[in-house]
């Protein structure tokens, strides 16, 4: 039996996190676990929890600027536990060299700027459902 899939979304702005959660939970079957986190610490904890509870982290969508971490650092941690994970950065402005550096080294499945389009989220999620 294949592992239970999980998706992790991260943003320190609650209104973003909540609207993203409603968005994704609406198109997600019950079989896939959706978790939301509002800080780097929380995210690392959740990624480790997925790892030890035998979930397969299929997708991480993270804000870039967080109080205690950069979104790219969270993605790196996710890769270390789940090399196949899909990686998306959600940012308020298409900025920073760091994101491009990350993209060159680790690859990025999506770089969405706020306000983002639901279609982009669907396009990332749908392949995971199969």
């Amino acid at each position: 039996m294949s592992k239970n899939k999980a998706i992790l979304i991260i943003d320190d702005e609650f209104i973003i996190l909540e609207s993203l959660r409603i968005q994704i939970s609406g198109i997600l079957p019950d079989s896939i676990l959706l978790e939301a986190a509002s800080s780097g610490d929380e995210s690392i904890q959740l990624i480790d929890d997925f790892y030890y509870s035998g979930h397969e982290l299929a997708l991480v969508i993270s804000d870039y600027h967080l109080d205690d971490a950069k979104g790219t650092d969270i993605l790196k941690h996710a890769i270390s536990k789940f090399p196949e994970v899909q990686k998306v950065i959600l940012t308020g402005q298409a900025d920073t060299e760091q994101i491009n550096d990350f993209k060159t080294h680790y690859g990025l499945d999506g770089l969405f700027t706020k306000p983002w389009d639901f279609v982009d989220i669907k396009n990332i999620i749908l392949p995971i459902l199969n």
């Binding site: 609650f14 609207s19 968005q23 402005q93």
Partner: protein, 568 residues
């Protein structure tokens, strides 16, 4: 006959005529000697008569006047020369005047040009500051916009897809059940992610306890926690026993998500409009010609909001300015002062400093201090920080005009800016003098005798330093109208000086009427007729501040005024 070669024709004709008529005459003639030398003669001719009285000859007396004539001619030529020089000078003068006025106009134009370019420099610096802020502001606005857009998409999806799918699987009684349950819930605020996970754990335990055979317990607990349930309530337990439990749950979830999406849209719109409004502190100036009052705390909060993107991660700002401080000045230019100082602190500390904004009122000055615990500004740099083109920033990061313009803006408000820096912290202190109370003060004098009013005016004028209005009324009735007008215009009526004995309403009745309407007004009664008893009564009832007997002493009146002014 005479040599008349050099003499003009007119003179020659004159001589001939007189000779013919045998008249005596006097003239001047111009001759040339045989050597060719020119000479002038004054000539007196007298006819000579014989004994019969018939003229038979002439007697001529000649006086050489060459010297005199030559001198006269010389003087004439000098005069001519002087006149022609004067004409020249007039022309030169006229030219000069024109040139001076041209130069003056040029200078005036240059001054306007300089002022214009100074304004432009200030404007450019403002734009540069905005440019620095704009990326952060865009980020701050994009966040609520992101939430708004996602929520709108969610609503669209909920109505077009979820709703129809669920409705099809729902019986009418299930729908009623869902709506009833939803109506009783108060779960509009989604709990934080950490709290949600605690709820989920609790609910999972309870499901496992009450419904050990439920295979869906884990997902269900997550779902219920996300909806905001803390534990497995009785209603939930009843619901879980129903066959259509899943459909009803989904319906409740959709309804709740609709409500939450609407709330997010609302919050997001409020947040983004707040940020946009904050930008107003920068835009007032484009047409703000005169200094205007504004709330200092609000203005500062707006600046903090615009800098929030730099502050929120690792820095902090505490705005200790009290709520009710009103400053009069150019809000947009002062905004640049606050922005520049805070932005410098953030830049110097790599956005990792604690900024503390304090306010002190010294009575005649507003003192705003902006303190940060960032790196020390070296002692040799401090004296130069307000200089033009001085910058320690990298090329492209700063224009070197920032603090120079900050200083000029503070000085434009007649204020002073200083900077102290130690290992512990750096403090910028801005002292802005308070504007002379913009509230106008007035004194009202009421007397039916014009002469009394005039002498009051002169006495008060002599020893009153502040600007004030002196209002007159010749009757109590007129005075009541004047008071209403003054109060209506927001002018502070410092004192009413009233006569006692007037036609119509008397001074005591007038005072009582005024007091009944405006209890805080101070009234001095001027009188010759009032009884001691009545005056004590008026004073005791606090209707008048003082009763002065006519003729009053100037000092007594001014003492009253000065004590009132001191309390303004």
């Amino acid at each position: 006959m005479f040599q008349l070669d050099e003499t003009d024709t007119e003179t020659k004709a004159f001589i001939r005529e007189n000779l013919k008529a045998f008249k005596s005459f006097k003239t001047e003639i111009h001759n040339k000697s045989k050597t060719g030398k020119s000479y002038w003669l004054e000539l007196y001719i007298q006819p000579i008569y014989n004994e019969k009285g018939i003229p038979e000859g002439f007697m001529a007396i000649e006086i050489d006047i060459t010297d005199r004539i030559e001198k006269e001619q010389l003087i004439k030529s000098y005069i001519q020369e002087i006149e022609s020089k004067q004409a020249e000078i007039t022309v030169i003068n006229e030219n000069l005047e024109q040139k001076v006025s041209e130069k003056t106009r040029d200078l005036e134009l240059s001054i306007i040009q300089i002022q214009k370019s100074q304004d432009e420099i200030v404007k450019k610096e403002k734009m540069a500051t905005l440019g620095v802020l704009i990326a952060g502001i865009a980020h701050e606005v994009n966040t609520p916009l992101g939430a708004i857009k996602a929520s709108a998409d969610n609503l669209d999806y909920l109505f077009s897809t979820d709703f129809t799918r669920i409705i099809n699987n729902l019986s009418l009684s299930d729908l009623k059940h869902a709506l009833k349950m939803y109506a009783q819930l108060n779960l509009i605020n989604a709990p934080s992610t950490i709290v949600q996970r605690q709820f989920a754990k609790q609910i999972l335990q309870e499901i496992n306890l009450h419904f050990p055979e439920n295979e869906n317990a884990f997902v269900l607990s997550k779902e219920l926690a996300a909806l905001g349930f803390e534990n497995l309530t009785e209603e939930l337990q009843l619901l879980l026993q129903l066959d259509s439990c899943q459909e009803i749950m989904k319906m409740i979830k959709v309804l709740l998500n609709i409500q939450r999406s609407l709330k997010t849209i609302n919050e997001g719109a409020i947040k983004s409009s707040k940020i946009i409004k904050a930008l107003n502190v920068y835009s007032h100036g484009t047409d703000q010609q005169e200094q205007a009052p504004f709330n200092l705390k609000d203005s500062m909060d707006n600046i903090i909001m615009l800098l929030w993107n730099k502050i929120k991660y690792h820095a902090s700002v505490k705005n200790n300015i009290p709520e009710n401080i009103t400053l009069t000045g150019y809000e947009d230019e002062l905004a640049q002062v606050w922005t520049n100082i805070m932005n410098n602190a953030l830049q110097a500390s790599n956005n990792k400093c604690a900024i503390l904004i304090d306010y002190t009122d010294t009575g005649n000055e507003h003192i705003v201090s902006i303190k940060n615990d960032g790196p020390k500004i070296p002692e040799d740099v401090i004296p130069k920080i307000f200089d033009e083109f001085f910058t320690t920033k990298k090329r492209g990061e700063g224009t070197g005009l920032g603090l120079n313009i900050v200083k000029s803006i503070v000085e434009k408000h007649d204020g002073k800016i200083t900077c102290e820096s130690t290992e512990l912290n750096t403090i910028f202190t801005i002292k802005l003098p308070k504007k002379m109370s913009s509230k106008k003060i007035a004194i009202l004098a009421v007397d039916d005798e014009r002469i009394i009013l005039d002498s009051l005016r002169i006495q008060i004028e002599k020893s009153f330093k502040q600007e004030y209005l002196f209002e007159l009324a010749e009757s109590a009735e007129e005075a009541l109208e004047v008071i209403d007008d003054l109060v209506g215009e927001g002018i502070e009526l410092l004192l009413v000086i009233s006569d006692y004995q007037m036609p119509g309403m008397k001074g005591d009745e007038f005072a009582a009427t005024v007091k009944a309407k405006f209890a805080h007004l101070n009234i001095v009664l001027l009188t010759g007729q009032i009884t001691e008893e009545k005056s004590v009564d008026l004073l005791n009832r606090n209707i008048v501040l003082k009763v002065l007997q006519k003729p009053w002493k100037e000092k007594d009146l001014l003492d009253v005024i000065h004590s009132l002014v001191a309390n303004v």
